[in-house]
Symmetry: C2
DNA sequence: CCTGGAACTTGAACGTGTTCAAAAACTCGC
DNA sequence: GCGAGTTTTTGAACACGTTCAAGTTCCAGG
C-alpha cells in the first residue's frame, strides 16, 4: 500500500504537469481566440502533445471548462474573504462579493459566452444547477452562506435558510448578464449590480415583514420545488 | 414584374413542397429519435433528397428548430383563442393559455431538451430573448397581450404595459421546467403551473397596491434595463 | 538488470455539421 | 421549341470533436 501510494505520487508528478500544461494552453487560447475557434487539435499542438493525449486528461472539450470554473472560483474566494471582513450589512457584503466575481472573470469575457451555453444545458454534466454535489457549486454556495451569516440583518429563519441558494442563483444571473454586456468597461453590468442588489435588499426587508409571511411561505415552497426538480434532472428515471 | 411574380409562385409550389417534406421528415425523426441522434444525412436520405438540398432549404440544423417553433405556435394559438373567450379573470386566462401551451408541445417532449440549449444561447440567431423582431416571439407575445387586455383585473398602467412581456418570460420559464420534468404525465409541471400562476396573480395584486408604487417602479425600471440589454446582444459593436 | 503491469502517449479513423462548385431542372420571352 | 437566366439539386470535400487499438515510458519486486 505504501509502495502503491509512492508509485502513484511519483507518477502523478509527470501526469499533473502534462495536465496543467494542457489546461493552461487551452485557457490561454480560449482567452485569445474564443472557445469555438480553438480546436482540440490546436490546443494539443501548441501544448506539444498529441490529440489523444489531451483526451486522456480531459474527457471532452467541455470538461476544460469545468477546470476553468474551479480555477476562477478559487481566485474569487481569495479576493472575497478580506472584503467580507470589512462589510457588515447584507447589502454591502453582497455587493462586494458580486462585484469581485465580475472582477475575477474579467479577463475571460471574450470566451465567457460559452460558459452559459454549457452551464444552462440541463443535459450537460457541467450544469451546476442540476448537480447538488458539484464541487464548484458547493464551494460557491459556501461563499454566499458567509455573506448571509456574517451580516447584521434580521431575517426570518425560513428565508434565511434559503437565502444562500437564492443569492447564488442571483449571482449566476448577473454573470449571465455580464457575458452579454458589451458596454465599455462593463459599466452596464456594474450599474445593474448596484440596482439589483438594492432591489434584493429591499425585497428581503419586505419579505421579512410578518405581514408577508403567507406570501413568503408560498414563494419559498415554490423555490424548494424548483430546486428539487432541477436536481432530479440528472437521475435517469421518473 | 407580373411575370416575375408568376415565375416565383410557379416555382414556389415545388420548392415549398420539398421544403415541407424535409421539415416534416425532420420533425418526425426528432420526435422519434431525438435531435442529437438525428443526422442531417439521415433526414435527407429519408426525405429522398440529397444532403446539400436539405441545406438549401434550411441554413443549418438549428434552423429546423425555428420552423418547429412556428408550427407549434400556430397550433397553440388555435387552441387558446376559444379558451380565452370563456375565461374572464387574469388568473383563469393565464392558466388556460399556459396549460394549453404544454398540451401543444406534449408530443415533442422527448426532443424538447434541445430547444432551450439553443433558445438560451445568446449567440444563436434563434434566441427569442435577443431578437425582439423574431416573428415567433412577436406572435407569442401578442397572445399574452390578449391575456392581459381581455381580463377584468385593475392594474396600474406602468405594470400593465410591461405585463405581456413578463408573462411571456414566465411562460418560457414554465416550458424550461417542463422540458426537464420526467414525472408521469408531467404532473409536476401542471402542479407548478397551478402554484406559480396563483403566486403571479397575488404578486400582481400586491404590486398594484399604491403602497407598492416605489418598489414597483424600481422593479419595472430594472425589467426595462434587462430587456434593452438582451436585445443589444445581437448588434455587433460597443 | 529483468520483467510484468500500470500510467501515459500516439495518430489514424469515424461520424457529423457544413460548404461549394458544378450539374440538372425549370421558366419565360422570343 | 430554343436560349438565357434562375432556381433547385447533387455529392464530394472539409473541419472538427471524439474514440480506440496499439505503442512507449516508467516503476516496484524479484
Amino acid at each position: 500500500m505504501t509502495e502503491r501510494r509512492k508509485k502513484r505520487t511519483a507518477q502523478r508528478v509527470k501526469g499533473d504537469q502534462t495536465r496543467a500544461l494542457i489546461l493552461d494552453t487551452a485557457l490561454t487560447m480560449f482567452r485569445e481566440r474564443g472557445y469555438d475557434h480553438t480546436t482540440m487539435r490546436a490546443i494539443a499542438a501548441k501544448a506539444g502533445v498529441s490529440l489523444g493525449n489531451a483526451y486522456y486528461y480531459f474527457r471532452s472539450k467541455e470538461h476544460l471548462i469545468q477546470a476553468f470554473y474551479q480555477s476562477t472560483h478559487d481566485e474569487h474566494v481569495a479576493f472575497s474573504l478580506p472584503a467580507l471582513e470589512k462589510a457588515e450589512t447584507l447589502k454591502a457584503r453582497l455587493l462586494a462579493v458580486i462585484r469581485l466575481k465580475i472582477e475575477t472573470l474579467k479577463p475571460y469575457h471574450h470566451f465567457a459566452g460559452v460558459l452559459f451555453k454549457t452551464a444552462a444545458d440541463p443535459q450537460s454534466p457541467l450544469n451546476p444547477f442540476a448537480d447538488d454535489a458539484n464541487p464548484v457549486r458547493v464551494a460557491s454556495m459556501q461563499l454566499f452562506e458567509k455573506v448571509v451569516e456574517g451580516s447584521t440583518a434580521r431575517i426570518p429563519k425560513d428565508l434565511k435558510a434559503e437565502l444562500p441558494y437564492l443569492l447564488w442563483v442571483f449571482h449566476m444571473g448577473i454573470i449571465l448578464f455580464w457575458i452579454h454586456d458589451r458596454s465599455p468597461k462593463h459599466r452596464r453590468t456594474y450599474r445593474l449590480i448596484d440596482h439589483t442588489v438594492e432591489l434584493v435588499d429591499r425585497l428581503i426587508y419586505l419579505a421579512s415583514n410578518p405581514f408577508m409571511r403567507p406570501l413568503r411561505k408560498q414563494a419559498l415552497r415554490l423555490v424548494d420545488e424548483l430546486r428539487d426538480a432541477a436536481e432530479d434532472v440528472l437521475d435517469g428515471d421518473e
